[in-house]
Subunit: 137 residues, 6 copies
């Protein structure tokens, strides 16, 4: 079993807030991350899949195919977007790094399976000091 | 003459657009950077000052003072903000990396002079592939 | 279950040596790391916790709280310190990266539990080529 | 149990191709990675071992010994080499990052055991976006 | 005057050798870099241009256009190539980092001028420890 | 004219203090950097030389020779050392990053000249946020 990781990047705006709370209450809970005028990040995404090496190619999976898959199913939908208002698979969710990792997992999992390998983890860096990782359960 | 550089970081939302143009025209000009719903970045800022070493301290300038200055005059005003709508010193400007570097220079220059040293350059990284640097002229 | 990681940094002096041995014997065992006049590093620390996402906030834990905890219980006690002579929780220990990771784990574990989540790992980078990681057992 | 990681680097040429196929067929399968005139990379290698801390030294293993081992058994054989034609332990293999990680594992495993510790993983970065990791099974 | 920098990457094989010398003499001169079977690198390229900010766009130049230019005139010709045998603009040259920087400058300069700005520098990283930079004279 | 840069690293202990002042006064002036028990850093050093490309080799200077020179004249004297008490060329100096850059310049300059090229700059990173650079005047 080999683990392969592909790194992709996207830049997006977001805001952390609970719609049931006032701006003041959201500020108390989330601090400047709740700014109603939005802020944003350069997110870094690492997608790790696992599988056996195909003896006919030396590959577990063609990383170019994995990269294209991540771009079509994830990056194209979130890059240069507002994560709170423009992304179908994040609708009705708090846009925390945690929920972003879980949402991206759900986007990718069926498509990675269709490549004949298994999704192992989705890891997101929000700033150089903050990371979330999800293993599907 | 010694050159000292302090790195600081901020995360912000922005949009590139010309208010005289329609969203379609702005998209033609700026691409996804013109998204009316905003996007954002983790910006990295390097401020370089130059001066002579003070023989009584070994310092050109105390980097903690320089850091505090950059935080008070720049970071506190732009971190977790929307650069187009919430930042006085960027008002009426296109929020390109170029203008951001020039705007930050103008913010810092008089305060750096007040420390007894000279501002040499303001450099900004918008993504890991894009940088702008301004030397004051 | 989501894994969240917070990165913090500290700069400290240390020395590797066995007090029962002479300086020559320590040099044989530890090389220049045993320099009796000390040397030092910019250490990088990654603390990973795991837990379930709170549906009311989108957070496993507020990373600002985790960061404050790491600063109060660890960083403030070791940053700009001599790890051999000034740090209570490292007393009587060889100051290897291994023991540093285990010592920091013991410092953090009860406090992380008090946040309602679980400490997963403590990882330390001593130089860009050397790392130690501890998972609590 | 502590996990120790040593990072090493090497620069090498390689080509992905199936000798039973024509250059055109290889290009279809592997793209520009199949260039018959070769291309190359700065590979980064992380070797992770695990073991208990020796109470007499504070070390799981002396990282300088681990580094020397990796240099002698791996780096000296592949650095500034053509991985397809000059490396005994990669002969008859497709030079994918996957096979490189597995080949390096096999080179290191008996020697790491001889140090009294266990090899945990071999991780290779081929470009800043592509990684393979092998855990020995 | 603002300085804008675009980073691009390419992976290539090369060899340092003087065709008038034997392999042994080349090894004496260039060490393992002269390996007749080639080796390779992940090169990083920073292209810096300078110009005035266009008040109608906020841009000195559209970095997407600069990136496309670098890709068409440079990256497409050298990425996943053998720099000694497949690159017209490096023919008859020793493939040192120095000559690579100068060759890329000559490729880019007329096209950058055609964008209405000035090429300021071409900087290449061959390994994380080695860099060459050329300013056109 | 080509500019070549070699990166080297060293780890050392130091302390900022004025011997004419008490520990309390030094703390007021330098903060925790004045800790009488020392602290330390992983310093990164970039040495940039400039010269013309030798048409017979493609090199301005052999970077392996430059690296050896930096190791012999600088790194071997400061790596794993206490910069305040063990380094001849820093004796009687405040061990600020500024003075370190200037001291290293003086160490290297005559030897770089002897290689037939010119020393352009010495740049030191003390932490990921702090840098000093010296150009010889």
């Amino acid at each position: 079993m080999i683990y392969l990781t592909r790194r992709e990047r996207f830049s997006a705006a977001h805001r952390l807030y609970n719609p049931a709370l006032s701006d003041e209450e959201n500020f108390e809970l989330y601090g400047p991350c709740s700014n109603p005028n939005w802020h944003g990040h350069n997110y870094v995404l690492w997608v790790t899949i696992k599988g056996k090496v195909n003896p006919g190619t030396g590959y577990v999976v063609d990383l170019k195919k994995l990269s294209r898959l991540i771009r079509e199913e994830v990056i194209d939908k979130i890059d240069h977007k507002n994560l709170n208002v423009e992304v179908d698979f994040l609708k009705e969710k708090y846009i925390s790094t945690e929920n972003l990792a879980m949402g991206i997992w759900e986007q990718l999992d069926p498509h990675v399976k269709a490549l004949g390998v298994e999704l192992h983890s989705v890891r997101i860096q929000e700033t150089e000091n903050n990371f979330a990782e999800y293993f599907g359960k």
